[in-house]
Symmetry: D2
Subunit: 388 residues, 4 copies
Amino acid sequence: MKTSLSKRSLLFVITILLLTLFVTSFVSFSQTYVRNEIKIPDVSGYLTLKCDFHMHTVFSDGEVWPTVRVEEAWCEGLDAISITDHIEYQPHKKDVLKNHHRPYEIAKSKANELGIILIKGAEITRDMPPGHFNAIFLENIDPLDTENWRDAIKAANDQGAFVFWNHPGWRQVDEIPIWYDEHTDLFEKGWFQGIEVVNYYRYYPKTYQWALDKKLTILGNSDVHPPTGMDFDLAHGGHRPMTLVFAKEKSETAIKEALLNRRTAVYFNNLIIGEEKFLKLLFDESNDVINSEVTIKGKGGVNIQIHNKSDLNFELIADGENAAITVPQNLTLSPDRTVLVRISGKNEQMTGTQKIILPFRVKNLLIAPEQGLAIELNMTVHFISGEK
Amino acid sequence: MKTSLSKRSLLFVITILLLTLFVTSFVSFSQTYVRNEIKIPDVSGYLTLKCDFHMHTVFSDGEVWPTVRVEEAWCEGLDAISITDHIEYQPHKKDVLKNHHRPYEIAKSKANELGIILIKGAEITRDMPPGHFNAIFLENIDPLDTENWRDAIKAANDQGAFVFWNHPGWRQVDEIPIWYDEHTDLFEKGWFQGIEVVNYYRYYPKTYQWALDKKLTILGNSDVHPPTGMDFDLAHGGHRPMTLVFAKEKSETAIKEALLNRRTAVYFNNLIIGEEKFLKLLFDESNDVINSEVTIKGKGGVNIQIHNKSDLNFELIADGENAAITVPQNLTLSPDRTVLVRISGKNEQMTGTQKIILPFRVKNLLIAPEQGLAIELNMTVHFISGEK
Amino acid sequence: MKTSLSKRSLLFVITILLLTLFVTSFVSFSQTYVRNEIKIPDVSGYLTLKCDFHMHTVFSDGEVWPTVRVEEAWCEGLDAISITDHIEYQPHKKDVLKNHHRPYEIAKSKANELGIILIKGAEITRDMPPGHFNAIFLENIDPLDTENWRDAIKAANDQGAFVFWNHPGWRQVDEIPIWYDEHTDLFEKGWFQGIEVVNYYRYYPKTYQWALDKKLTILGNSDVHPPTGMDFDLAHGGHRPMTLVFAKEKSETAIKEALLNRRTAVYFNNLIIGEEKFLKLLFDESNDVINSEVTIKGKGGVNIQIHNKSDLNFELIADGENAAITVPQNLTLSPDRTVLVRISGKNEQMTGTQKIILPFRVKNLLIAPEQGLAIELNMTVHFISGEK
Amino acid sequence: MKTSLSKRSLLFVITILLLTLFVTSFVSFSQTYVRNEIKIPDVSGYLTLKCDFHMHTVFSDGEVWPTVRVEEAWCEGLDAISITDHIEYQPHKKDVLKNHHRPYEIAKSKANELGIILIKGAEITRDMPPGHFNAIFLENIDPLDTENWRDAIKAANDQGAFVFWNHPGWRQVDEIPIWYDEHTDLFEKGWFQGIEVVNYYRYYPKTYQWALDKKLTILGNSDVHPPTGMDFDLAHGGHRPMTLVFAKEKSETAIKEALLNRRTAVYFNNLIIGEEKFLKLLFDESNDVINSEVTIKGKGGVNIQIHNKSDLNFELIADGENAAITVPQNLTLSPDRTVLVRISGKNEQMTGTQKIILPFRVKNLLIAPEQGLAIELNMTVHFISGEK
């Protein structure tokens, strides 16, 4: 009795449900934008800010309204951007009135609303040499709109701007950069402080070496013109090139101080480019060895678990030999994952306890143009004899 | 001997390899855009064209340059678009000069290059009533820029434009549309031929009923303002709302002919809205029953495999009873997948062969505001007794 | 001169590169398993351990070797499992010799190697009533293999096992569980301490109410038979049902202590089921309001950013009214994302500063069978007049 | 009035909805398995069957029940499999009774139900030389369970089995295969007809050359032991290695005929290995040039659209020069996508119409161990002068 009643009421409920679902299951509620935070650890007491200091809007040859650049930055996990429309190149000027200040003015309230640091900038756009230079932290862009490029760069410096040489391989054979007398002149005057080692889809190893030799700040920027989702594969976990700034706090002032003191690294696809001291800390803060004390019996193997809590990918290769153990030739520490690393003994009779550093190098953390970071994964290994 | 030599040369090769990979594994080649074709079958000898007749650029209140709309359309698998900037609402006019023809002019060569049909259009933007109307297939937008809204709509009709009422719930309580005398007037004059049953994130069931009753062409459009990737979840397989046009060929003329003859459907999230005759064909052309002849023993079960070769999702619910078999209450035919459908006998003693239509309705193919399409999956079932 | 030389050598390098890539780009290195940690915060000084206490192998009616259960658990981010093969139901016994201890014995060394806590268990498998019961933390399974089900359950209790009633709706009409006299008897004797409110694909609200009323420990388990990847959609971010155990440390003893003291919750698809005190902490520890102090002008709006650092999904609905502000009706806090919540003023003239609790309930955190958790998102709002 | 009524009833509906959704939104219906068809075109009037002829179960050293192998094959889009448990190696024999026929017997009804062709097979498992050989299309496995390996291989041939040498690099230095006198002996007797050029994670180029020289049938198989989802990255679009069999129909007999007549190719990660005649057809049937007639003005560029309708990835590199146009150095034709290929004129004054074959080679279609397939993408190009 009871069951049949319950069944009847159940049928009623199901009928209601189906009708209801019929109406409701296709309703979407208005979307709110979401931000994908990029997990890169802070290092040495500095915040690791994610920044892009080179991009365009319809006010020069870009294809989006300035507010879009702020919304994209927020969604993609950036902390700071600079819109750097060309001063001298304005292909849309038939339709969009020339005014160097409008991109910043238009984007500023959206930036405030979303908490994105917006830095006023512009691109000084001349033939090679000297090519293109970005000036950021500007007060007034108009004085840079002048005939002589030296005057333009000087005007930026006079305002205390941070100036850097963009995509140095531009218009060169095979995109290999050339350092001209003009660059020596600018460099000796102290008129540019930084240089792009990465721009858009390109990494310039030669430029990286210049930066190391001449103590220039390294930068990597998107130089994006269309919506970022059209140029970068955000849909499959990709990201635009960006400059990591190790700053004392999250502020425009702190970013400028860090740039002037060369506390940057470049994040480009899987690659991180920067000084050894920063890259070593990025690695160490990202990865934990879960079982750092293990026992190996003779030539047997044991699994070590390493957990990478960052969004970075670390591609390790064996580098050097250890007398007591062998390690895999290749190893990828994937973002947000724990991996098994199999190490094995070399000697059937070995006994005793050793402190061992696993001999690996990180192929994609570049402390010099072609030099991966050597790392130190410390283990305590107890060896017991494998013989019966 | 030979082995050791081979090993030495192998080591050499590996060294070269590692050095080489070191340099090369981070190089990316310049990206070329890719197009994601949307697999929806052609029906009844008509091509199924994917179209979006409502979108904006920086020339009214949109946030992208007109060429972006063409590139987005190409990447997202569309065949035709119309840029329909507001005639009367130009919030960027301080920076972007007012000229109703520029979006079309700027986008046209990119459209030609990519094979996207670009239709000249504009949005007549007035208070409710009568609200907003799109006019497409225009020759000249300027005559529509006039004080009286009746004059504007007439001017569109005078040019032979196709005119439709946009987002009819706009500014109404709970977005529920109201049909005013003004609409009756326009309708009786034949001054609008279509109506949006879907706009952006919203489906208007009431509007769908009006369209059925009054023989208006149904449309579903994006009305997108920012880059489409910011408004629609393209990264996870989402798509903008679009109008499916069943056209005699892929041309602007054929699209107009189809719109005038009400050969459209609307594709919105998982939902397809349209006339039974078209939706039935879309279902039939998309799905194949792989084993349509099966044997059931008594009350035993058997698996039927159904392959959906389209990009559409079909959500089936059991609808009605069959005397001989039971079917699952719910069943999803996922895009590009084959699924198992378990059917079972109802009677242990049953014998003989029957033609059976599986009693399903497709919840998300709407042939009326709240009515899913009834389908006919035909089976031949051989029943054999389940008794020993 | 120099350039052409450089170009020639570049061509040479490119040739080498292409040849090399030709050979190497298709090589894959042997895969190492990766573990996907599930980010759920620890609460109240307890570790939140992810556990599954119900699964099968080829030793009863499962389809995998016991070691697979350990490897799956490791890859899926679990901390502890119990293999609970049926004692009385051994459909593979023609091929696989009956021995209740072998699943544990075979899996144990793999569990040690990977750091998975493996708890010895078995499923007492009888008709309803009383249905199936799992006994875990067993010393010896053999005494449970006895004719009378009361003897079997008593034998488990005699060993100090933790005993729980599995999938209580099994074999009932519409899977709605019935509490029989047999259950009263067992309950009054204290012979079972827990009950599954979730098993496989099913949530039993009625069972959840019983657990609340009778102070039974709630559990949610997979009851998986094939490889887990065939039953659960791991490929798209899905997970098996699991029991969250709030334990004093990561050990078998601590898990038992927590189970006996009812410190558990159930994680099933998007749903978390459990006591208010735990769920409230899970929510609070997972989410940060980034800008908890905002200014609203008149009826204007402001965006609040909420960052969810866990892997859980929180589905909020507005619940109750606030006199000063309106909030969105629906809001999803997605895993590992920051979302914008738009709140608006209600009164154009309002001024002053208020502490406001945003009126939301979390639909998918169930503190009772159909009751979502009320939460307290605290804001400080400065109101300024919207009038000129 | 009316509106307020409508609003009240709307509130009622919303209340019902929310209550209803509360209960229902977490219900999952029992999962049905889905099959991911692999789109590889049929060629030359043959069906392209996807087959895996090498895998293990708990009956030797595998970790799954035989039915799992059938279900996996169905879900992963395969047409035919052979379970080939080791005859001489039975590490689970303490628990699983030795019986060479049980894997086939147990799996057969599931194979019939799902339409998977199940071929009876076994692995003859001996030290190197001669190593391991699979025998498939066996009638009776027992005669192969004999002391002398020559007797075992002869017994297989006596039954008309198809016999192939597995993973020929097994137990060799750096996995480089060695052809021993024992292999010459077997080969000259005609006792093996095929050879694995791919096994699990490994491609053996040297073996591929042997197969070309000696007219052996090439095979690529998974040799999987755990659930396939643990060894292959199915979650991210990966697939197990498989043998493509070009068969006259979908039947066991037709597969055997094709194997004996060497109509196979190997599909391994991105790589397809096989005879030029088959690979050329696979490429041609997969790809369509959408606009094969274009106009180039002087040194200007034009976009060609190529649509790849298969699930294969084609990695093209420029190969050779064309006097009139330049093509990109690299080009990837992604599965189910249309890509843009930019070609440019070389000569500002060029005029007239030419038939042009775009000079590309497909890096990942291997017609010899290190030789990519040359393809012929035919274009008609109209050149018009670029001078004013």
